[in-house]
Assembly symmetry: C2
Homo-oligomer: 275 residues x 2
């Protein structure tokens, strides 16, 4: 099935949970003709605290599920899986292309501010993996990269408290050490799929003129380029169909995921699958 990828196949999007729905949302905005199938491995989240071997195994099982039904592109909308399992998944999906969320964000940051100062906001697991630092420094050795673990922003996004005094207070507190170090970033990179929901709160806290690199929209742009290059864009204007698969917890997926997708979801919109 891999070899016969055609333009009418859906794009597959995989994440450990609901966070990747911000990436799905960005893809829908950018590529409204595309059919999409999303798989959230909610039974086994969070991936960030698992060993690399477990992450590769889980990601590979999820990928196999999407591969089975046929996709023309796989988007790995999970920072941990992008950092740890991308090579494994590329071998598995070959010749179907695989896009992670780290590289597009890093590339966009370097393009906007070559030799610049980059602040990556991410989860503790992503910071420990150092994937953004490696991806940015690999493209631009002059770049000055700082990474900040902002765990509370994940819960804040899931709770839907994305604006107002609490959200801005938490963002400010995370940024305090930068002011002490006199580090003024050119770019702030949203290095967790949950953080695009907090973009407005973050923009209100960082100094005017700081650019925000959102790895959801940069990943959607890369997916679009890649499909265009290979002649795989869907030219049919039948509205893009969306299937949502999860490995557990349809009710919570619908409630929290609806905010991430920017759309109302019911538990019955989610198909539960075993991996």
């Amino acid at each position: 099935m891999n070899a016969s990828a055609t333009s009418d196949l859906p794009i597959g999007v995989f994440d450990s949970g609901v966070g990747g729905l911000t990436v799905l949302h960005a893809i829908r905005e950018a590529l409204s003709n595309e059919d999409l199938v999303y798989l959230g491995d909610t039974a086994r989240l969070p991936y960030g605290t698992k060993s690399p071997a477990s992450i590769c195994r889980y990601a590979s099982q999820a990928t196999a599920r999407l591969q089975e039904q046929g996709v023309k592109l796989l988007v790995v909308a999970c920072n941990t899986a992008s950092a740890v399992a991308l090579d494994t998944l590329r071998r598995q999906m070959d010749p179907v292309p695989v896009v992670g969320v780290v590289e597009p964000g890093a590339a966009a940051a370097v393009e906007r501010h070559p030799g610049g100062k980059h602040l990556v906001l991410a989860t503790e697991a992503t910071v420990i993996l150092g994937a953004y630092r490696a991806a940015i420094s690999g493209r631009d050795p002059e770049a000055d990269v700082r990474e900040l673990a902002c765990e509370l922003l994940v819960s804040l996004a899931e709770e839907g408290w994305t604006s107002g005094a609490i959200a801005e207070g938490i963002v400010s507190r995370y940024l305090e050490p930068l002011a002490e170090m006199a580090f003024e970033p050119d770019n702030v990179i949203l290095g967790c799929t949950h953080f695009p929901l907090l973009r407005n709160a973050i923009e209100r806290v960082v100094p005017d003129g700081t650019s925000i690199v959102d790895s959801a929209s940069t990943t959607a742009a890369v997916a679009g380029h890649l499909l265009a290059e290979r002649g795989l864009l869907n030219e049919q204007t039948s509205a893009g169909q969306l299937r949502l698969l999860a490995t557990d917890g349809a009710t919570r997926f619908a409630r929290v995921g609806g905010q991430f997708l920017g759309d109302h979801l019911e538990a019955t919109d989610i198909e539960l699958v075993d991996l």
Copy 2:
């Protein structure tokens, strides 16, 4: 080994992660002569999003590990496991007694305010299970029980931001619906092992005179009574020894767990075990 429980055996404490260290801390305060062995199943947390069958299996495996080395009492310092797996674990440990965290908190709340209004602050998973509501209503059919899911308080405690404007702002926001419903609780029950760390912030937000029921200290008290009843208190005044076992992530366990235990921990203080 179960049948030969003697006073010099340690008390076993089991949790899905580090939260149960608040219970361990309370037991150390109340029973300073006792040796303690703690097992945090950090590789498989959170339990709250897992199916009841999986929770029972995980809890049973963790319990077997503590059983193997010999304990005179098992404390299940995890609300989810207490709500779902207590009967399974009691059968497994029999005749060694097993104490969960839900019953002691519910009993203390009813004792303080018979026929009273009880507000349970917990995780979403505990609220969905309704274990505190059932335990309180089972003891006192006149009781008026409300449960509030406060997910962000978990991350707040793990981040160590336990006092100040952000903590109080978040607690206040969670309590807003109560004011709208004109529900004035007699008791606020800390129905998550993380929440004793936020006790001061919670006390500053709730009306004066509201009593706080901390399931960590109520569980420690019940453990003490139970050992005394069975003549199993350790009378030796050699300081209580503490062993900490975890299934993953010794570094994070030490950093976050140290705050919960109220003691400095190094990663080398944690023994990693496979279940």
